[in-house]
Symmetry: C2
Subunit: 379 residues, 2 copies
């Protein structure tokens, strides 16, 4: 049943050198012969998520990027600011494959029945090194997509949908009645609106531009607050009061927004307080920072009592915490609703070489809201 060996394939690599230079390149790697439990997936689509960019760009200043190499084997170099070097000490001088997730067709399968059953199927996969033409992976790691799903449609089955579902699950497991999301016009934010509308969950969207308010309202969002508006704190407080949201998921990280959210939550909690307490309300208010669109420091004045928390939130840690079975249920929901709730849209498709084009890098490295690239390694 196994198709003939695929030989070699191109793979995108990122190397942060000890001398402070980032090197992006394409290398030819041999496609391994799959072990009995493994399959070879021809990767037909893999998104450039915000979560990929840290590994890909290593904190380099991409305005310093220079192109070299050939059309088939392009190379890009850029300077890594000294401030970024400490955070990447563990990866220096290692040529690292990139790309958390993708989708494609199983073109070769190991001898086991589980692997053989996947031959020819379109599957979504997670596990790194997806910016490659061929990816060898265990059969159990493949999520079979419903018939009629294209690899482009299935390429973003994990990071964004599972993060959105993970936020809702975290909200529920910690007993919060509703949630807040920042940078809410993002792909993830739009998906979260679809989930919350479908499941009847209160959601407060925070965006930074008037056009994003309009976009989300059009998608059916009830509460959208613009943090650039002079009435932001009042708007936010009313939306929190209307929904009861006491947990927020923040993609921005830097600046004062996390503290502002806690302050508004505390104002709502104190509306129903029966007597004054100098320690503030007893309602626990939580902000989870899951992204770093603003890489600057986080700053807050502690004007929200004592019952509060700010912390990191990471999808992989969440999935480990809920266990294999619960995680599998979330994945199956994604596959079942991949063309509706969890549909992703891409502003551009590029080849592996295209992902190393200086013009394209300048666009996707900006991480502008709503802009999302899909790499199509075999086109």
């Amino acid at each position: 049943m196994a198709q003939a060996g695929t030989g070699t394939g191109l793979q995108l690599r990122s190397m942060a050198r000890k001398d402070g230079i980032l090197e992006l390149s394409l290398v030819s790697v041999p496609t391994p012969e799959p072990k009995p439990e493994e399959v070879i997936v021809r990767v037909d689509g893999s998104p450039i998520n915000p979560s990929d960019q840290g590994l890909l760009l290593a904190g380099a200043d991409m305005t310093t990027a220079k192109a070299s190499g050939t059309a088939d084997h392009p190379m890009v170099t850029a300077s890594i600011p000294p401030a970024s070097m400490k955070a990447i000490a563990g990866r220096l001088d290692q040529s690292m494959p990139v790309g958390n997730e993708g989708a494609g067709v199983v073109v070769q399968a190991g001898a086991s029945p589980a692997a053989q059953a996947l031959m020819g199927k379109t599957v979504a996969i997670l596990g790194g090194a997806m910016y490659s033409q061929y990816r060898c992976i265990k059969a159990v790691q493949c999520l079979v997509l419903p018939p009629g799903t294209t690899p482009a449609e299935g390429a973003s089955c994990f990071a964004t949908p599972l993060t959105a579902l993970g936020m809702v699950a975290t909200m529920r497991s910690e007993g919060h009645p509703a949630l807040v999301h920042t940078a809410a016009a993002s792909n993830l934010g739009q998906m979260l609106n679809k989930i919350c509308n479908k499941d009847g969950i209160g959601l407060v969207n925070i965006v930074r531009k008037p056009e994003h308010v309009a976009l989300l309202k059009q998608l059916g969002a009830t509460h959208v607050c613009n943090s650039a508006s002079p009435t932001f704190m009042d708007d936010l407080t009313e939306a929190l009061a209307a929904t009861g949201a006491t947990v927020a998921f923040d993609a921005i990280g830097g600046g004062t927004l996390a503290g502002q959210i806690l302050t508004a939550m505390e104002a709502v909690a104190n509306r129903t307080a029966k007597e004054y307490s100098r320690y503030g309300s007893t309602t626990h208010k939580q902000v989870y920072i899951y992204g770093g669109l603003d890489r600057g420091p986080t700053r807050f004045s502690r004007t929200f009592g004592m019952a509060w928390g700010i912390g990191g939130w990471l999808l992989t840690a969440f999935l480990q915490k809920i266990g294999v079975e619960a995680a599998q249920k979330l994945r199956e929901r994604v596959a079942a609703e991949i063309k509706t709730t969890f549909a992703s849209t891409y502003t551009k498709e590029v080849s592996l070489a295209g992902a190393l084009d200086l013009g394209e890098i300048a666009v996707y490295a900006r991480q502008a809201t709503g802009e999302k690239y899909l790499i199509t390694p075999n086109r």
Copy 2:
């Protein structure tokens, strides 16, 4: 068995007026006739804890304090900065009694056997309004002190000892192997050293002055780091590595210290990491802010991966969480070791009128490490 009624007694009051003026005064209040389950305690000692000063001073700028009134009924007024007014909106124009805890002798008792059993006993009490000559309180709220304990020795049975024990209990219940404490030369910090030495728990002390390093070393502390030293981050990292501490309790709140602690914890966690992860270590690192010696904003750069949290920690919330029985066990340990592990020292004793002396206010409002006042309302 009930002693003759005590008539009236002086009580210290704090009122934050709508016009932005703080008024501190002494008023004469009638001592109530105790109900069957209640007793009247003659308050012989009540500390001025950091946790009392928020209610007492209402965020006023005490450099603007002015004295008026008479020697027996002094009054102090001071301006409350506009920035503080929002946080105290719930208490404006209310004359509030102050003083979280104290100790004294039961001088009158209600008819119930539980109340009668306390007649003449020296007890420690918690519940507010302790800056009073007499305090009516339920018998079950009285912690009977071991024979031979003076009210001054028992005056600080709750806030400081239970906070120190609560930190250790929180550390254990969240699975951290050891803990960090800031402003560690405080009364609380010294107590925490005694507990950790006795119970064999790893403790990293952070102080801000060389003389506080010496003080804690003399008390038997193993790890003391001076945040004002140029080698602070290295010293802290080594102390964290030696103890394995992954939780910190921070009395300071403002500034960069919380983030520095997380950064050092992450550096230790990454020493044993097997491979590079751009999301940082999987070790959860936690800072609890329980005080506000620096009222300024908290600032941190997120250079410690994704497995971290910063949050408020409040003794009353902790005690509620562990439940009545577990809390009672902690109280009994405090009573049993009140002359050793939980001994408090005071730098000055003042009367109720003395607590309103401008010179004394200037000293205790400074909240200098190691300085602690005891109010003796009946001297």
